[in-house]
Amino acid sequence: MKFYFFHLMPWPDLPADFSDKSKHPSAWVTLSNRYYDAEKGHLLYNRYLDELEYAEKLGFDGVCVNEHHQNAYGTMPSPNIMAAMLVRRTSRMKIAMVGNGLPLRDHPLRVAEEVAMLDVISGGRIISGFVRGIGDEYYSMGINPTFSQERFKEAHDLIVQSWTRPGPFAFEGKHYRLRYVNIWPRPLQKPHPPIWIPGFGSKETVEWCADPARKYAYLAVFMPDHLVKWFFDAYREAASGFGYEPSPYQMGHLFPIYVAKTDKQALEEAGEHALWLYHKGLRHKWEMLFPPGYTSVSSMRRITGFAHELNWEAMDIKELNDKGYCLLGSVETVRERLVKYIRELNFGLLLPLLHFGDMPHDRTIRNMELFASDVMPFLKREFKAMEDKWSQAA
C-alpha cells in the first residue's frame, strides 16, 4: 500500500447565511470572491503548506495537490505552484499534482515544461495527474465543454510526446498545432513521470486509463463503496480485455478519513468538517456540474440515473459515513474498514483527505499523526504481499 496525503486547501469562511440555498446555490463559479479575505488567505495558505510538508516527517509516501478555479472548495488554481514550493522543502516524498486541468489551458506545452522542471529539480519525485477539470470550470474559464474530451486527449498526447520523443518535431492536431516541439528541460523519470487520472463518473475514462499503452492509475474520488467497486471492476475488466492483470497500484481511492480514540469522538470532532465538505464545498448547481457535452449523452443518461448519489446535501453524517463517502472512526474501525475495502477492491493507492472542510490546524495534525502512527504501518504490514508482488511495477 502507498499513502498519499491529499489536501484541497478549502476556503472555510463561508457567509453566515450559506445554508440558505436560494441565496447561495453553489460554492463554485457564482459565489462572490468578496468572501475571500487575502489577509486570512496569507495565513491559511502557509498553514496548509506546513501540513503538507509535515507529511514527509510522518512517513507518508507522498502528498497530493490539485487544480480548481473560482470556488471555495479548493483554492489552488495552479497545482504546479504548490508543488514548486513543496519540492524545495521536502527531500524524500513524492509530490503528486492531481492534476493539471488540460482542456482549461490554452497551451499544453506550458504544463509539459513545468512538470519537467519540477521533476528535474525534485530528483524524480513528481507524479503528474491530468484532469479535464470539473464541469463548473468550463463556465469559469469560458472553455467550450463540448470539445473537452478531445482537447484533453490531444493535449495529453502532445505532452507525453514532448516528454518522450527527442525534439524538435512537429505536432499536427486539431486543437494544437506546433511546428517545433522541443521542450527544455526533459523530465528526469523515464520514460516520464507517472500519470494519474482522477475520475468522476465516466466509464470511457476508465477504459482509456487501462489501455496497455498507458496503464495509468485511475483514482475514484469521493464515491460511495459500491461505485468505487463499480469503477475498479470496470478497470479490471478493461485490463483483462486487453489481456493483462492490472497492478493494484493502478487503482486509487480518495476520500476523507479521520481517526480518533473512539468512534464517538471521531464523529464529534470531524463530523461537522465532513459536512462542510459535502454540504457546502461540494454544493454545485447541477447544470454547472454537468455542462453540455462535458460527458457523452449515454454517460449523462447513466449519471442522471444515479443523481441521488451526488445529492450529498440530502445525506446526514451517519449516511455519508456508512456508505463510504468518508471514514470517521476509532483506530480499530478505520483499520477494519480499510482492510475490508482493500481486500475486496484490491487497490494499492490510498489518498486520504486528512484535512477537510473547516477543520482547524490542531485537529488536522492530530489526525495526520494518528493515521501515520496507527493506521498506515498496520496496513503496510497487512498488505505486505501486495508490496512484494507489485512494488517493481509501482
Binding site: 468550463y138 469560458g142 467550450n144 447544470e287 454547472m288 453540455p292 449523452v297 443518461r301
Partner: protein, 259 residues
C-alpha cells in the same frame, strides 16, 4: 395535415426531416429546443407552402455533430441540404438558433434564399446587453427565460422537470449541439453583424415582445444591419413565437411571404 418523415443523407450524416404541404418551398430551421415534430405553426404554413423542417446535426437523432465546430459549418451544412433536396431558392425561416443559422446561410449563399424570416434569432451581440446564461439554467429557470407563461402546459411539455427517456435524450442532445456553436462567443458570431450587408433576400424580423433571453434590442440590430428589413413584434410572447403564439406568428409570416 400529416407530415412525411424522411431521412436525408448529407455528406454521410443521416438527417431527420419533416415535410408537408404544397406550393413554393419553405425551409424552417428550428430553435434551441429542437422542435422537430408536427406543430400547429407548421400546419398553418403548410396550407400555403411546401414546408421542410430538418433537424440540425447533433439534435435528437440527426447525425453529423462531429463536423460542426462553428456556426458557419451549419450554414454550409444547409447549403448541402438544399442541394440534396434540389431546392434552388426556397424561402428560409429560422427561430432562435435556427434564425442565426438562417442569417449565416443568407450571408454566405445570398442567392439561395428567396425571402428570409428571422424569429428571435441568436447571432448578434448588442454591446452592454448581457444575455442570461441558458446553459446554466435549471428547467424551471429555462421556462422562465423562454416563455411568457412559464407555468403553461406548453412550457412544461417542452422543458420538463421529469422528462421521459426520449425527452431527456432530446434535451441533452439539444443542449450539447447548441453549446457546440454557441458557448463562447456566447450565442453569437462576432463577425456576423458586419457581414449582414450581404443579405439580398427581402427580410422580416419577428420578435417576441417579452423575450427575456434575447431582448428586442437584438431584433432592432438585425433590422438595422439588413438592408430593407422590417421588424414586427409578436405581442405577449417570449423567445419562441412559433410555439407560444403560433397563429400570430404564422399570420405575420404568411403576409410577408405572400406579399
Amino acid at each position: 395535415m400529416t407530415p412525411q418523415e424522411k431521412f436525408v443523407n448529407v455528406r454521410g450524416a443521416r438527417i431527420r426531416l419533416l415535410r408537408a404541404g404544397s406550393g413554393e418551398p419553405l425551409l424552417y430551421l428550428h430553435g434551441l429546443l429542437g422542435e422537430v415534430r408536427w406543430l400547429p405553426f407548421f400546419d398553418l404554413l403548410s396550407r400555403h407552402f411546401t414546408i421542410y423542417v430538418p433537424e440540425h446535426p447533433g439534435f435528437g437523432t440527426s447525425e453529423g455533430l462531429e463536423r460542426v465546430e462553428t456556426v458557419d459549418d451549419l450554414a454550409f451544412h444547409y447549403a448541402d441540404l438544399l442541394d440534396e433536396l434540389d431546392l434552388q431558392r426556397p424561402h428560409v425561416a429560422g427561430l432562435s438558433l435556427g434564425g442565426w443559422i438562417a442569417a449565416e446561410l443568407a450571408v454566405h449563399y445570398a442567392d439561395r434564399v428567396r425571402k428570409l424570416v428571422l424569429i428571435d434569432a441568436m447571432g448578434l451581440n448588442v454591446a452592454g446587453n448581457f444575455i442570461p446564461d441558458i446553459f446554466a439554467a435549471s428547467p424551471a429557470e429555462t421556462r422562465a427565460l423562454l416563455f411568457v407563461d412559464s407555468n403553461s402546459a406548453l412550457a412544461q411539455s417542452l422543458v420538463s422537470d421529469s422528462p421521459s427517456p426520449e425527452m431527456l435524450d432530446l434535451m441533452l442532445t439539444s443542449r450539447q449541439a447548441t453549446a457546440r456553436v454557441a458557448w463562447n462567443p456566447y450565442l453569437h458570431d462576432p463577425k456576423l453583424a458586419d457581414r449582414l450587408y450581404r443579405v439580398r433576400a427581402p427580410t422580416l424580423i419577428l420578435w417576441g415582445e417579452a423575450d427575456r433571453l434575447l431582448t428586442l434590442e437584438h431584433g432592432r440590430l438585425y433590422e438595422e444591419k439588413i438592408r430593407g428589413a422590417k421588424l414586427s413584434i409578436v405581442k405577449g410572447c417570449g423567445h419562441l413565437p412559433p410555439l407560444e403564439k403560433a397563429d400570430d406568428t404564422a399570420r405575420y409570416t404568411l403576409e410577408f411571404l405572400n406579399s
